[in-house]
Point group: C6
Chain length 266, copies 6
């Protein structure tokens, strides 16, 4: 009955807000106008689904390079929506699940969402949820098919659902023919310019202005590249490693240069 | 016994009519004479199967690009038939089913249909029912074989069955050798000309004539294409997104241009 | 015991005769001398197996394009034999069977046949029984191997068995190395000439002589082909569709022309 | 205990002699000196294994084209050996067995043989026992590995075993790396010359000398080949078919010519 | 409860220290400055994870040729950390585990680690844990996916985890797309120069200075190579073999030369 | 407890000695100095593992062509070691085992060995144990991985283990990446020269000196080859076959020539 249903929904919601906030432990640094655009685009879809006369199902894919901040941005959009039901679906919650268990877990999450008048499901790291590996290639087709069908399954009358998914394998999703199952998609960029990188270093409060200057010069020297192209998550982690080193600025430029180089060869 | 059998049939029927009408929530907009031809062709097959002296089994495949309106058209033909038994078979009803469960579900639906003197089964999205994915390629051969056999299995004496199937992967169905198992096929087109697109915009009641004009011009400008080639479902959804934007006409032309571009590169 | 055994055999027989006659609901139209040759060849093998001193096992494969009448002709030969045990084995009787169930069903049918002094087994549509699909290619090897072994397994002393199999995938059966397991094979042709097509139209009683003439001319015009090459089953079904149309002759020529064209491109 | 063991062995033996004799229902026609050589070679290996001081395990592979008489010749060698235990292992005894059941059945047969001081196991049609199919290719690796190991497994002290296997896929057995597991091999030829064919026709007692002459001339005419190259089993079966025809000689030459032609194209 | 939890953690810890020390039974010979660098790098990451305000999860991959000392170095870093929970996860602990058992075992180890405020997990020989074999290639995708997810799964609030993994198949890990899941990586070299080799021989205490000299000269002579390129583990084992030989120096140079040659051809 | 453990070990040992001696029923004929070298190399490794201060695990692979005597030589080395625990692991002991049973059996053997202070495990015919077949190729990866891990798993403190494995597929083991898991390897040759062959014939006591001379001349004549290249096992078996023939020398040269020819074409 209805009260029972409410019971089921509430804890699910409570738990997930905590989980979503964990994704944001590095905050959102507005190092580029793209970040604001992404959040605005997210807000627009949140409003569309909220409208009682619109199609009650909408799905958006956030895609970008590894560590670029996709999960944090999806979490931010979800939390800011203030919808009554928000749920993070992440591969980390399915460790040790076999294909059938994954399929059932996914169905269960959607069934729960259908009980709330308005819901957001954040489906994180789709290529990991479907056990993608490029050798073979192999993946769980039954999980993939389940997701594809859930992406087009209309919620029951009077229920509305927004799906925010993330991936760093857009081309894989295209090959798997699931990319077109999304109603819209939002690209998430790396930290690309030295100005953006400086902005992040500043916000971290770990470097003196001179250290920032010296560090960036070293990166430029080592990489001989005008493009940084490193994800915000790696940069924040590199700052932490650098803090352990006596020569913090050099350690940081070393870590970042290596990341830049890896990008160039991959 | 007979009364029991009737019991089983009735609810099945009731439920499905609701389901089929859900497929039509955007109505049928007669934006092109093709739409009328498709519905007329459907009516002809409905009449053929109704004849007591004709072959009691006939199958038709509606095929066309994604979002072109295949499901809605099949639902419309089925509802207008006024046959006593109509059943929608959709991948969404089989979420979490394994191969065997799918095979049994399909058999059950046909067994139910055989109990009614005249039946229509709408088998939606065959490539999804058989878990098709282009990488591999992989699909459920046991589900595929079951469908192939059910497409040629004569109903019991005195029972008549029309099967309406949909797909947006005609060439896949040809490769799988199931295409020829259908007795006839009907192609479903995209919204292709700017006139057709204007017609749809008008019917939506969301745009002023000036907005329509401006929007179409922008699409033409951005895409440099004389062909629209976007499915009716995407267009109707794009209108909904546009409604959230302050500059509705530009947002609409943006969404449509992107859809046109994707068509050109896929 | 013996009486029990008889009990098992009788109903099996009764049921199958009805099933076989269902395959003949369009009758046998003698539209070409080939049809008579096929039936004569069948009679010869029926007589050979009947002889008490001959090898007690013989197998024949009827192969030809889809819808060419293979099943009907095999059924006709079987019914005319007046053997005490006749059984149709068709993929339609095995919907939802897994590999093991199919293997057991096939074994059971042969065990039943071995109980009768003389038997015919009609094994319809072998490629469907083995779940053949050209992508992969995939098929049930355990079902295939079972059939191959049953085709060479001598019946018990004093029992005689004729196997009539059908396929529209002769080359597939050759690749699967089962083609050579048959002792003989009979090709079944399409309706190939306009004279043959006219003969079928006439026999259907649906067309006036003028309609026939006009229809054939239209087909010639549209297809620009001197060869018809369409299966008798499709032609009979096309006549039924045509009957629903106000302009029956044109609808018929349309349906047939499309069938001719498909043949040319496949 | 010992008496129990004897019990198990005896019926196994009784049954198999009947089975082996069934393989010889067409007798052995000495249509060529090769036939005598094959039987002599078989006798030699029978004697070698009989010697108490020789290696207690020996395996021979009879290989040749389909229908060339391999099974009959292996049966003849086994029956003439007068060993106390002879067992025919044939795919026909394993219809409906899964891989594990086959492996167990094979092990059981060898266990039974190890109980007798001297044994012959006739393993008929190895490629069928391992479920070989050229598409894929596919086969049962667990059955194959079991056979390979059983071919080299020494019998218990004081027990001696001769294995006679047959195949018409020598090259397959080479690819599967099992060919070298045999200690020796004997090729079995087709009926190759017209003289050999005449000899077989004569022995059948079905033809007058004139019929033989006419029939052979017709085959020569039709095939334009100086080589017959047809298996003895097909020839004997062709004689039976011919007997049903009014014009026996022509029907026979027709059947044989077709067999010759098939050989040339395969 | 807490005391129970402590109970679970303690024995796990005790056992693992013994296991880790077993990996170090050949000690750490400082034959090159690289060895010191590797240990220093390890210490830095140990300190980073120890910091309460840093990201609570960090993973490092030690990669290098077979026998180069990867496991010993990872063990050394772990033991020197003096973290309260250290656990070695090695393929040798999972002999006979099926995929599911491996996945559960791995999850269990991480669950145990999450109970301690600070933990190190040494995951030895990843390619063996995932059952990698180059033919196919084949590997356990479910184990691989589990590891990939566990490498990014945040520990519960207040718990900190450092993962040290080893592999001698870096390129395989790159192909499997798991290489980038590590936050950092450390290459481990072979014993490469003759000076390094002499250092190891000396430390073993098995050779006189003359023997060392003669042995190295022989290796140079035989291999004609200025590069040794042999793993420390193979060298230590070669010394043991040499000790059994009357002419210890020659036996040693023989063993080493063969190892050098194998490197050159692989 | 300890006495129980002893109980388990003893019978295992008793049984295996008998099994190992069975592998030596043809004795060891010292037809070439290579044979003595192989046995000496084996003795060296036996002594190395016996030393209490050496690494307690060592593995050696004997590889060579089929029938070259690998199993007999490994058995000889094991028996001569006089270690308290010796166990032969052979595919023949695992007939009918599935993958899991094989893995468990192998683990059990190693567990048993770990109970004895010093042990030798003879792992015969590795490619057969892993169910290798070149078509596919297919093999049991779980068995392979188990062996790879057992080859590097350190025995418990105070226990010492020597592993002697055999294969005639060295290159396969290299492709499977297991070849490098062995600490050392010993090649086993064929009987290669006519002198070696004469030596074997002489030792058999079956031929007069003239027969030997004549036989060898015939082989030279037929094969036109200065190289024999046939395994000792085939030669000894050929002598047995020859004994059944009236003309023993010619039969022997026939058998050997055929073996030589097969070598040349394989
Ligand atoms: N502008 C920003 N956008 C996104 N994340 C940011 C931003 N600024 C700071 N962050 C922080 O950076 C981290 C981004 O990590 P996140 O896990 O979202 O990346 P990701 O792209 O999902 O990585 P992965 O490819 O591993 O899934 C978070 O800790 C987040 O709080
Ligand atoms: N002429 C039309 N034909 C079809 N659908 C129309 C038409 N006019 C309006 N619609 C509406 O457009 C939508 C078509 O969506 P539908 O699901 O049928 O498309 P589809 O081709 O089946 O999509 P998919 O490829 O995702 O299966 C429906 O909401 C329907 O009511
Ligand atoms: N000469 C004829 N030969 C065969 N069938 C005929 C002939 N004349 C009329 N028919 C009718 O044509 C139909 C032939 O259909 P049938 O199912 O036998 O074809 P098929 O080749 O087996 O088709 P499929 O390829 O689908 O298995 C039957 O209804 C049969 O009664
Ligand atoms: N010289 C002969 N050699 C073998 N069989 C002969 C000979 N003469 C007559 N026959 C008869 O010919 C038939 C040979 O059939 P058999 O089953 O042995 O052939 P096969 O090569 O095993 O066939 P398949 O390839 O189907 O296994 C038997 O009926 C046998 O009695
Ligand atoms: N500098 C060193 N670095 C590493 N190991 C050393 C060093 N000096 C001596 N050793 C000894 O060498 C051996 C190295 O073996 P270890 O198992 O660590 O190598 P590995 O690279 O992990 O081998 P594998 O590729 O088989 O996993 C250990 O016994 C270790 O005690
Ligand atoms: N010098 C020798 N070396 C090895 N075996 C010998 C030698 N002299 C005689 N023999 C005998 O030869 C036979 C060798 O057979 P064995 O099974 O060991 O060969 P193998 O190489 O293991 O064969 P396979 O490739 O089939 O495993 C044994 O019977 C053995 O007693
Ligand atoms: Mg993420
Ligand atoms: Mg649809
Ligand atoms: Mg048919
Ligand atoms: Mg045979
Ligand atoms: Mg290691
Ligand atoms: Mg051996």
């Amino acid at each position: 009955d209805f009260f029972n249903a409410l019971d089921e929904v509430k804890p699910a919601f409570g738990v997930s807000e905590a989980e979503l906030e964990k994704c944001l432990h590095g905050g959102i640094i507005h190092y580029s106008p793209f970040i604001d655009n992404i959040l605005a685009e997210g807000r627009l879809f949140v409003e569309q689904v909220r409208k009682p006369d619109s199609t009650p199902l909408f799905s958006v894919l956030l895609h970008g390079p590894p560590a670029s901040g996709k999960t944090a941005l999806a979490a931010k959009i979800a939390i800011d929506s203030e919808y009554p039901f928000i749920k993070l679906v992440s591969p980390e919650d399915m460790v040790g699940f076999n294909e059938m268990a994954k399929v059932q877990y996914l169905s269960k999450v959607f069934m729960d969402a259908y009980k709330s008048p308005m819901s957001i499901i954040v489906m994180d790291n789709i290529e990991r949820i479907v056990d993608w590996v490029p050798i073979g290639p192999r993946f769980s087709n039954s999980v993939l098919q389940t997701i594809m069908v859930l992406l087009s399954k209309q919620p029951p009358k009077g229920r509305r659902l927004l799906i925010l998914a993330t991936t760093n394998e857009r081309s894989v999703l295209q090959q798997l023919d699931i990319f077109n199952s999304f109603n819209s998609d939002i690209p998430v960029p790396n930290v690309n310019s030295y100005e953006e990188l400086a902005h992040v270093m500043e916000k971290s409060g770990a470097f003196s202005p001179q250290d920032i200057q010296r560090s960036l010069e070293e990166v430029r020297d080592i990489t001989q590249s005008e493009q940084v192209g490193v994800g915000i998550k790696r940069i924040l982690l590199g700052i932490e490693t650098a803090k352990q080193d006596a020569d913090m600025a050099s350690r940081f430029s070393g870590v970042i240069s290596r990341a830049v180089a890896e990008r160039q060869y991959s």
